[in-house]
Amino acid sequence: MSDRFIRWCRSAAGVTILLSILLAVIATIDRGPYILVNTAITGGMLALVAVGLALLLGVMNVASFVHGEYFMIGTLVAYYVFTPLQNFLNTNPSPLLAMVAPLIAILAAAVAGAAAGALTEIMVFAPMRRRSRENWVMNSFLLTVGLAVLLINGHLLIFGADFKGIVRYWAGAPVTIMDVFISRDRLFAFLLSIIVILAFWVFMKTTRTGRAIRAVSQDETGSLMVGINLSAILIFTMALGCSLAAVAGASLLFLYPSYPTVGLEALYMAWFIVILVGLGNIIGALTGGFMVALLKVLTVEYIGSGWDFVVPTALIILVLIFKPSGIFGSEVRGVLDQ
C-alpha cells in the first residue's frame, strides 16, 4: 500500500495533484479561505462539463467542438421552463412549488440535452459512421465544428441575441462557510455537480449499461462480440454526455444567462481540462476540473483578471511539452493513433 502510494506520488498525476494541493494551502494561508471555497465551487461546475466531453472522446472517439452548445441548450431550456413557473409563483405563492421549480427546470434541461444528444448521434454521427470510418477522428471533429456554427446561429435566428437570464433559483440569504458568503444557487450547483458526478460514477462502475459503455470505449469489436448493441450504446452515451453538459448549463443559469455563444467558455474550459489530464480519461477530468479551477482562482488573485485565460493556457502548453498525452496518460487509443 505505502509502496503504491509512493509510486503514485512520483507519477505525473501524483506530482501535479500534490503540487496543486500545496499551492492551494499556501494561497489559503496567504490570502484566506475564500480561495479554497471558490476553487471547490468552480471546480465542481467545470468537472461536470469536462466529464461529458471526456465521455464522448473515450467512447465515441469524437473530439467534440460542439459540447458547449449542449450547455447552451441547457441554459435555454431551463430559462423557458423556469421563467413561466416563476411568473406563476409571483401571483400564486407556494413554498412547495418554489422549492421544486428549479429542480423541474434542471430536469427539463437534462431531458432536452439527452434528446439533443441522441438526435445528434442518430442524424449526424451515425450516417457518417455508416458511410466511412476512414479518418474518423478528424472528420467527426470537423463535423462538430459545423454543428457548433449551426447551433449558435440557430439560437440567434430563433431566440434572438438578447440575454435570457434569471435573478436566482432559490430565495434566501447566502450561506456562510469559513467566513465566505456563498449564494444558495451556487451552493446548490456545487452539490448538484457532486451528486451528479457520484451518480455517474456509480452508474459506470456497477450497472450493466455502464460497464457496456466502458467496454465500448476500450474495444468496439470486442463489445460487438459479447453482444452489446453498439449503435444503442453510442446513442445512449451521446445522450448521457450531452445531458451532463445541459445539466451544468441549467444549474448555472443564474450565473450564465442564455445567449447564443454562452457555451464557448464552457467548451474552452472543458477542453483545457481534458487535454491537461489526457483525452478520454474520466477520473482525470474530475480531478482536472478542480485543478483548472484552482489555476483560474490563483491567476485572478495574484496576476489579475483577464489573465485567467492566458496563464492557464501557457501552463497547459508547458505540461503538454513534457507529457504529450496529459498528466494522467490517456485511455483512448484511437484518438492518439490518428
Binding site: 441575441a161 438578447d162 437570464g165 456563498i182 451556487r186 443564474f254 483577464g306
Partner: protein, 419 residues
C-alpha cells in the same frame, strides 16, 4: 450529372450577378443608412437602435418635404472589418446619401474612413472613446463627415461619480472607512477608456487606487475577483461593462460575497431589461444614466414596449431616438436652405450650422433625454457637456428604479451607503 452541375454553377453566377446589380434610383427618395450591431455580441443594442429609429421615422411617416425616406440597415456585426465592407456596400449598391448611429468605438474608427472616402455625412455615431476623437482631430476637414458623436468621451462624463461621492462625504451622509477604490471594467476600448478616466479622477481627489482589473466581455464569474476586493477592503468599486450578463453578474455576485463597498456600475441600466437579471442585489448601486422624466419620454418607452416587446433603455434606445429626431431636423433644415437633399448639402449643414452651434436640438424640439444636443467648434466631434446640454445625472437604484442623487439641484433623493 455533369450537365446539371454546370447548370447549377451558371445559374449561381447569374443570380449573383443579378442580385448584385445596382438598384435603380427613384426620384425624390433619400436613402439613409443606419449603422448598428444588429447581429453579434451586442445585437441587443442593435435591436434597440432599430426600434428607436423606426419609431422616429414613423412619426414623420418616412417623409421630409417631398422626399421619401428609405432606411438601409448596415450591420456592423461588432467587427470593424465587416462593418466597413457593409458600409461601403450600402453606399455603392443601396445608394445611401447619408447615414447615422453606430455603437462601438472600433467600428467608428474604421467607418469614419469610409464616410470620408465616399463623402457620406454620418450623424450621431456612438463609440465614445478618445481614439475616435484623436483620429477626428488629426484631420478635422476630412472627418467632418463624421458629423457629431452621440456620446462624448467618458472622461467628460464620469467625473460626476467622484463629485457625487465627495459631496456625500463632505455633507457627512457617508462615512467610508477608508478612501480605497478598486477599478474594474470589461476589457474593451470602452471599459479601458472609462476605467482609465475613473482612475485618474479618483487619484486626483486623493483616493488610493487599490487595483485595476479588466476582464473579458464574456466573463460572468466574478467570485474570485470580488473576494479579492473584499479582502482588500475597498470602499468603492468603480467600473463598467456594456454586456448585460457581465454587468448584472458582477452586481449580483458582489451582493452574494457580502461586499459592503459602494458599487459604481456604469452601464448597468443600459439594457432595458437589466433588473430581470440583477435583482435586488442592485439596490444602492450607482449608475450614470439619463432618466425618462417627461411624460413624452415615458410614453415613448411604453410604445416601444407595446410594439417591440422589450423595455427600452434611455441611454441606448433613448439617445438613438433623440439622435434620429435631430437628424430629421437637420434634413428638414437642409431641404429648407438648399432645396435638395443630397450628400453635399447635408454635409454643408454639418459644417455651417452644427459645428458652429447654430443648429441644436432641445427639449423644445422634442428631445426626450437631454436638455439640448449642441455642438461647437471646441467640442466637436463631441457634443457640449453641461447640465443645460448633454449631461448624465448620477443615479442610485432601489428595486430596479433609479433616483437621481447628483447633481444636487436635480436630485430626487440623497445618496445612501449600504448598511
Amino acid at each position: 450529372m455533369r450537365r446539371r452541375f454546370w447548370t447549377v454553377i451558371v445559374a449561381g453566377i447569374l443570380s449573383i450577378g443579378l442580385a448584385a446589380a445596382p438598384a435603380a434610383a427613384v426620384d425624390k427618395t433619400l436613402k439613409v443608412g443606419v449603422l448598428g450591431p444588429f447581429t453579434g455580441p451586442s445585437a441587443k443594442n442593435g435591436a434597440e437602435f432599430k426600434a428607436s429609429v423606426e419609431m422616429a421615422m414613423e412619426k414623420i411617416d418616412y417623409k421630409i418635404g417631398d422626399y421619401k425616406i428609405e432606411l438601409v440597415w448596415i450591420d456592423s456585426q461588432s467587427d470593424p472589418a465587416k462593418a466597413t465592407s457593409a458600409y461601403a456596400e450600402a453606399v455603392e449598391r443601396m445608394g445611401i446619401e447619408c447615414a447615422m448611429q453606430n455603437w462601438h468605438s472600433s467600428v467608428a474608427v474604421a467607418a469614419m474612413d469610409v464616410a470620408a472616402q465616399y463623402k457620406v455625412p454620418h450623424w450621431f455615431g456612438f463609440g465614445a472613446t478618445e481614439v475616435v476623437n484623436e483620429k477626428w482631430k488629426a484631420d478635422p476637414e476630412k472627418y467632418s463627415y463624421w458629423g457629431g458623436k452621440g456620446w462624448p468621451i467618458p472622461a467628460k462624463m464620469a467625473v460626476g461619480y467622484v463629485e457625487c461621492l465627495d459631496n456625500a462625504i463632505e455633507k457627512g451622509t457617508w462615512k467610508p472607512e477608508n478612501k480605497k477604490v478598486g477599478i474594474y471594467g470589461e476589457d474593451t476600448d470602452w471599459g479601458r477608456s472609462l476605467g482609465g478616466a475613473l482612475k485618474q479622477m479618483f487619484a486626483d481627489k486623493g483616493w488610493e487606487i487599490v487595483s485595476e482589473d479588466y476582464f473579458p466581455i464574456t466573463q460572468t464569474d466574478f467570485y474570485p475577483l470580488l473576494s479579492k476586493y473584499k479582502t482588500a477592503g475597498v470602499s468603492v468599486l468603480a467600473g463598467t461593462s456594456t454586456a448585460a450578463p457581465t454587468m448584472t453578474a458582477f452586481v449580483k455576485q458582489a451582493g452574494e460575497v457580502g461586499l459592503k463597498s459602494v458599487i459604481i456600475a456604469d452601464g448597468l441600466g443600459w439594457m432595458g431589461d437589466w433588473y430581470k437579471m440583477a435583482g435586488p442585489a442592485s439596490n444602492g448601486v450607482l449608475d450614470m444614466i439619463p432618466q425618462l422624466t417627461t411624460p413624452e419620454a415615458k410614453k415613448w418607452a411604453e410604445d416601444i414596449q407595446a410594439k417591440y416587446g422589450f423595455n427600452p433603455s434611455p441611454s441606448a434606445g433613448g439617445l438613438c431616438y433623440d439622435g434620429t429626431n435631430m437628424f430629421i431636423k437637420i434634413l428638414k433644415r437642409t431641404l429648407e436652405k438648399y432645396g435638395e437633399l443630397n450628400k453635399e448639402n447635408i454635409h454643408k449643414i454639418f459644417v455651417e450650422e452644427i459645428h458652429t452651434g447654430q443648429l441644436t436640438f432641445s427639449k423644445a424640439d422634442g428631445a426626450l433625454i437631454m436638455n439640448e444636443y449642441r455642438y461647437n467648434a471646441d467640442s466637436v466631434p463631441d457634443p457640449v457637456v453641461g447640465k443645460d446640454a448633454y449631461y448624465f445625472p448620477v443615479i442610485q437604484y432601489t428595486d430596479g428604479k433609479g433616483a437621481i442623487v447628483y447633481p444636487d439641484d436635480w436630485k430626487e433623493k440623497d445618496f445612501e451607503a449600504k448598511k
